[in-house]
Amino acid sequence: MSAPALTVTGLTMGWDDVVLQQDATFEVARREVFAVLGGSGCGKSTLLRYMIGLDAPLAGTIVIDGIGSPDLDVGRPPYGVMFQSGALFGGLTVAENVALQLERWTTLPADAISAIVRAKLRLVGLEGAEEKLPAELSGGMKKRAAIARAMALEPDLLFLDEPSAGLDPVSAVELDELFLTLSRVLGLTLVIVTHELESIFRIANQCILLDKESKSIIGRGDPKVLRDTSTDPRVHRFMNRLPRSA
């Protein structure tokens, strides 16, 4: 068995005086679709920021296979990130957004770059939208474009923050299909931060569930198994979407 794609050990999350999560430890295996679950405000996005190297945790280590701890100052990043809002650059067309990293980190000539860009956009179902500006795209299209951009440098590891938040049900399902393709056909490892359970049951094969009150991971494993067999009432409630008082 190969080394895990991502190893998180003893992570303490928070700011000077607030601790969000304590001593979080987990591993993401290669080619896994791994979900970080939890209610609003439990620290999912914060964890994501640590994993992609935007912020440093209060304590603990994160190791990405092949590069060690994430560091954004060392050059070409080995993973792709899709932000919740897409975070496309508003002044650039969709194609330019996708091409940006190829221009910066490869020596490919312009025609080769535009061929790759076109192929990526076709992969995410956005052919023909090359010359559109982000403001002209729908919410689902923005997320697709952001995925194409995150995949520009052929990373093995993709991080996604709330991919299906704010999407209509049809777009959400289409996006899930895309994730399954990325994982099964291209062999990518996906780390998805979300509270949208429906999509997680469809695509994720591993998850952790963060809890705000106990500041710890209260459940881990296959999300469907967790839903059906967990004896922890908090896990049972979250995975089955039951109200707190039930």
Binding site: I52, L54, L72, V81, A87, L88, F89, L100, W105
Partner: protein, 372 residues
């Protein structure tokens, strides 16, 4: 609706509410309840009898809950009693049936404390901007060492935006400044029959002080605000985070090209401002004081030496760096959505104006001290 009260023997009071209680009658209810509540002694109990209430809306319920909390803070226990089923559901929804939490308000900050905090904040902000300057110099060094990593293609469009597009307003304002100054000066100088010295007055003040400063103020209002707003909205839409995860340093990619563009453009705008400022003075000299074109020109050339112009240009470069730096720093520091962008844009412009005046004063003192 109406309220009725009766004080019974055992230091417990009861109010009765009745009828349909809606937001339309809420003001009246609120006043009546407060009046009665004020009369209640600490340590006693109150029952608010809701049995005659036919219906009640959420607004009125919220007022009752607030009243309970206020009474609880004074040591009076208030209970909502006798509600019918529909009203009781509302009582429950608004937590009128659980012990009120006496939320202590944060004590109001005194004037002195506010001044103190403002002062500390001011120094911290200054420190942050200096730290930002350090970061920018480091990344400038990095780009000099590896020119291929610079975002050069943004420089020319930014120059156009901040320079070429600012020409009309720079011309207009500086012309008027020269014009107004000559006008005011002329009134004084004419009394001594020294009208020709208007040329000296305008020439020297425009090239040394007002040309660079007015131009910088215009650029601050146009481009400083634009930089802060652009970077601020990139910050709140996670675009700056995205840039970082794509391996582009935001300093290198966003701040440096803007700063380089401003540094290139500002001296040119300032020269232009100097020129039209002198023209403005000349218009008054020829039109209002009866001076000749040649006479005014010769006097100006006699009065204005090369150093007057070039010291202004030196200033303009420093102004350009200050504008870009403060605006970008404020943009990066934006938090809190669209509203945050507006707040930071305002504070970028205000801080930059302040910095421009301070820098200008420092230059003046420096030049004076060294007889420059």
């Amino acid at each position: 609706m109406s309220t009725a009260g009766d004080a019974s023997a055992d230091a417990s009071t009861s109010f009765a509410l009745q009828g349909h209680l809606t937001l339309a009658t809420a003001a009246e209810t609120w006043r009546a309840l407060q009046e009665r509540a004020r009369a209640v002694a600490s340590g006693s109990r109150i029952a608010v009898d809701l049995s005659a209430v036919e219906s009640m809306d959420g607004g009125t319920m919220a007022l009752l809950v607030q009243l309970r909390a206020e009474l609880a803070a004074r040591g009076v226990r208030a209970e909502l009693t006798g509600a019918r089923e529909a009203v009781q559901a509302l009582v429950h929804l608004y937590s009128g049936d659980v012990a009120p939490v006496s939320g202590k308000r944060a004590p109001h900050e005194g004037t002195l404390a506010q001044i103190g905090r403002g002062t500390i904040e001011f120094f911290l902000e200054t420190l942050r901007i200096l730290g930002f300057l350090g970061d920018m110099l480091l990344s400038a060094l990095g780009v000099l060492r590896e020119p291929k990593t610079g975002n050069w293609k943004d420089v020319v469009p930014t120059m156009e935006r901040t320079g070429a597009n600012a020409v009309p307003i720079v011309v207009l304002i500086n012309f008027l400044v020269g014009f107004v100054m000559a006008f005011q000066g002329a009134n004084q100088l004419r009394q001594f029959g020294a009208s020709i010295f208007v040329a000296d007055l305008v020439g020297v003040s425009i090239t040394r002080e007002l040309g660079p400063l007015m131009t910088a103020i215009i650029v601050c209002g146009r481009s400083g605000a634009a930089f802060a707003a652009e970077l601020g909205s990139m910050r709140v839409s996670e675009e700056i985070d995205a840039l970082r995860t794509m391996g582009f340093g935001p300093m290198r990619y966003l701040v440096l090209p803007r700063t380089v563009a401003l540094v290139l453009v500002m001296p040119i705008l300032t020269l232009l401002g100097d020129f039209v400022g002198i023209l403005g003075g000349m218009a008054v000299g020829i039109g209002g004081l009866g001076l000749t074109f040649q006479g005014y020109l010769i006097e100006t050339r006699k009065a204005v030496v090369l150093w007057d112009v070039s010291s202004g240009l030196v200033k303009s470069v420093v102004f350009a760096i200050a504008i870009s730096l403060i605006a970008c720093q404020q943009g990066f520091a934006t938090t809190g959505g669209a509203e945050g962008v507006g707040r930071r844009t305002t504070s970028a412009v205000v801080s930059t104006l302040f910095a421009l005046i301070v820098i200008d004063a420092c230059f003046t003192m420096f030049f004076h001290a060294f007889n420059l």
